[in-house]
């Protein structure tokens, strides 16, 4: 039943020739010149990885994982929560027959958090988290995992939750995990900064994509993390459905992945492919990271279509009869509807010293937006935040 490497390569529509070096490259010293395109060193871990990796969460197809490993994917990302542990178990079945130094694996777990504050309660103990780590090792049938992520935090406080950090540090010392990571899907800059400041985390795994209106802030936080020696793994490169009701454009996955990898501080991106063709196509990024003109157009169109990102072109400046700061208001709109951050949105709106009668007597809005947005409606929606008592959102 085992599928030979030769068979695999023959069967793949896209030629994967030239990627055989990837597994061997794992042992290359981190300070060696990066003579091969397509690999980067994961910060102070020293692990050299292909810039595309496999996020296993969306598949329960073991043959896809096996084929990915045969094709040159090295780094697998899973989590204890994916399919209630069965994703880890599937990987355990696959990996038990492979040399331990032929792959790098990350998994992650969290403990229940208050969904409103993002903070942990008294039940989030070191013992509880240690059990999580042990459960992962058992499911994966491994003596150790390369990276164990504290999963899905979105506040500094939770990122630095002492019992969890203590559990992770003890597991590292005991050889159950090699490196400590943290994953974050929102408020990423705060989490990345906390991880950097902690001197405990070795790797960060943030959502990072072209659709995020705060991508520039994430980029800066990532740069600080990388400068401090942390490894940076990108995820959610396609941005999912984060555009909400405003988003409709489908976009080529490779364009999204390449966009993330234009940031040299991102060392690899986990790709959630579910077909053999997607797997092979994502691999082609190793040969050429360049964003084609068509891909750039796609990204530009999709980011505008996402409808929440003010490009800051300045085209609207000076057009409003009341002199409203339209780009600032659009940023507040993005805070509010893009990532549901009421506090940031209200703070920004209140800081703008807007006139009481926003839009005044204007019947038709004279401001033309380069994105074609209905600015009057957006302004109307967001300035209502002034009337929400601060005690509701603070």
């Amino acid at each position: 039943m085992a599928i030979g490497r030769r068979d695999f390569l023959k069967s793949t529509a896209t030629s994967l020739g030239g990627f055989a070096y990837l597994s061997a490259s794992l042992t290359r010293p981190p300070d060696a010149p990066d003579k091969f395109e397509g690999t980067r060193v994961l910060g102070r871990t020293g692990i050299r990885l292909p810039i595309v990796s496999m996020g296993v969460m969306n598949t329960d197809n073991p043959q896809l994982v096996r084929a990915a490993l045969e094709a040159g994917y090295v780094f697998l990302d899973t989590a204890q929560g994916y399919q209630r542990g069965t994703n880890e178990a599937m990987l355990g079945e696959i990996l038990k027959d492979r040399p331990r130094d032929s792959f790098v694996i990350a998994t992650k777990a969290s403990l229940p958090k208050d969904q409103t504050t993002g903070g942990y309660g008294p039940d989030a103990t070191e013992e509880a988290y240690t059990k999580k780590i042990d459960t992962s090792l058992k499911s994966l049938r491994l003596d150790y995992v390369d990276i164990y992520h504290h999963h899905g935090t979105w506040t500094r406080h939770a990122t630095l939750h002492e019992p969890i950090l203590s559990a992770l540090q003890k597991a590292k010392k005991a050889g159950k995990i090699r490196w400590i990571g943290v994953s974050t899907h929102r408020n990423e800059p705060e989490v990345i900064d906390a991880a950097t400041d902690s001197k405990i985390y070795d790797v960060v795994l943030p959502a990072y994509n072209f659709r995020q209106q705060h991508a520039a802030e994430i980029q800066k936080a990532i740069a600080r993390a990388a400068a401090a020696g942390l490894g940076v793994v990108g995820m959610k490169s396609m941005g999912g459905n984060r555009g909400g009701a405003y988003a409709s454009t489908q976009i080529d996955a490779r364009a999204c992945i390449k966009w993330v990898l234009q940031d040299p501080n991102v060392h690899t991106v986990i790709c959630g492919f579910t077909t053999f063709d997607q797997m092979a196509l994502d691999m082609t990024i190793l040969k050429d990271l360049t964003l084609s003109a068509a891909e750039r157009d796609q990204l530009r169109t999709a980011s505008v279509d996402a409808g929440l990102y003010c490009q800051g072109c300045g085209g609207c400046t000076g057009q409003c009869a009341q002199g409203l700061p339209i780009p600032d208001l659009m940023r507040a709109h993005m805070y509010l509807y893009g990532y549901r951050n009421l506090v940031a949105a209200q703070d920004l709106v209140l800081s703008l010293a807007l006139p009481r009668d926003v839009c005044g007597d204007c019947v038709a809005c004279p401001v033309a937006c380069a994105n074609g947005w209905n600015l009057k409606n957006r302004v109307r929606d967001v300035v209502r935040l002034r009337d929400v008592p601060a005690s509701f959102v603070a």
């Binding site: 969460m57 969306n58 043959q63 994916y82 069965t86 579910t274 077909t275 009421l342 959102v393």
Partner: protein, 288 residues
């Protein structure tokens, strides 16, 4: 502080409620009262474009299973709490599909809805197009009884009756692992052109393999899928209903049987005699 937190949550809920995608949908699930328990705040409702806000990256898999809407609430009684999540999917098969992805075969299975199970402060079940997930906190030794009580109460509120997909009963019983069948909604076998399929896991005398059934929209749809598949694996044979012995570079030797809307097959079964026996079984199913 707590009040403000809930007001903030309520305001956020109001915003989500007002989103166009949600306004276009059906009424969210109305949680029933449960004796002795109070609802801690208003239910939160999530649509396909906001599910990420609740379960982050986990939303991808739910969207693959045509997730329509999630309603979440927390019940409280003294220090105990029960979180109740009701996911609505487009069809009962899709609800079964996501349930089957998360189902733990070693759990204690229950006759609630089409099927449910209890394990470690968690009770999940499916009923028609709904996937219900309950989890208890500080529920102590009574955890099982409490969660089963909630499950029954919510089940009474959902449309019924409900049963597991009928096609599962066509998989032969010998060697079949209990409660391990799955419905894969997309990219079946790792091929984008194959639509959805059902699988069942087998373990016979140490031989572990799967049987599957792909169900097309109609015979023409299934024929087109098979045609593309045979082209993909470079299997040259005239297209006709019946048995195929093929080799797939990723899955190895496989037996297939096509009839009408269905393609039945084996995965990971190297024993040629057993593959041939299953082909006869598939033929029997198909010609019933």
């Amino acid at each position: 502080m707590k009040t403000r937190a809930w007001l903030r949550l309520a305001l956020l809920g109001l915003m989500l409620w007002a989103s166009p995608s949600l306004a276009a949908g059906a009424q969210p699930f109305a949680f029933p009262p449960v004796d002795g328990w109070t609802l801690a705040g208003q239910p939160q409702v999530f649509a396909p474009d906001t599910l990420y806000d609740y379960i982050n990256g986990g939303s991808d898999l739910y969207l693959k299973y045509d997730f329509q809407e999630l309603t979440v609430v927390e019940y409280r009684k003294d220090a105990m709490s029960v979180s109740a999540e009701v996911y609505r999917h487009r069809t009962p098969d899709h609800a079964f599909g996501i349930y089957s992805q998360e189902r733990v075969p070693s759990a204690e299975f229950l006759a609630i809805g089409a099927q449910g199970y209890y394990e470690n402060a968690v009770c999940n079940f499916i009923q028609r197009g709904y996937y219900v997930k309950l989890s208890g906190e500080n529920t102590g030794a009574e955890d099982r009884a409490i969660l089963l009580g909630f499950a029954r109460r919510i089940s009474e509120t959902l449309p019924g009756p409900s049963a597991l997909p009928e096609i599962l009963s066509a998989f032969p019983a010998e060697g079949k692992k209990a409660n391990a069948e799955k419905f894969i909604a997309k990219d079946f076998l790792g091929y984008g052109f194959l639509h959805a399929g059902f699988t069942a896991d087998y373990d016979r005398s140490g031989r572990r393999y799967q049987l599957f059934a792909i169900v097309g929209d109609d015979a023409a749809d299934t024929r087109a899928m098979l045609q593309q598949y045979l082209k993909q694996i470079k299997h040259e044979a005239p297209m006709a209903e019946g048995a195929y012995q093929v080799t797939d570079a990723y899955h190895g030797a496989m037996a297939l049987f096509w009839k009408g809307r269905h393609i039945w097959g084996t995965i990971g079964l190297s024993d040629a005699e057993l593959r041939a026996a299953y082909l006869k079984h598939f033929e029997g199913i198909a010609t019933r």
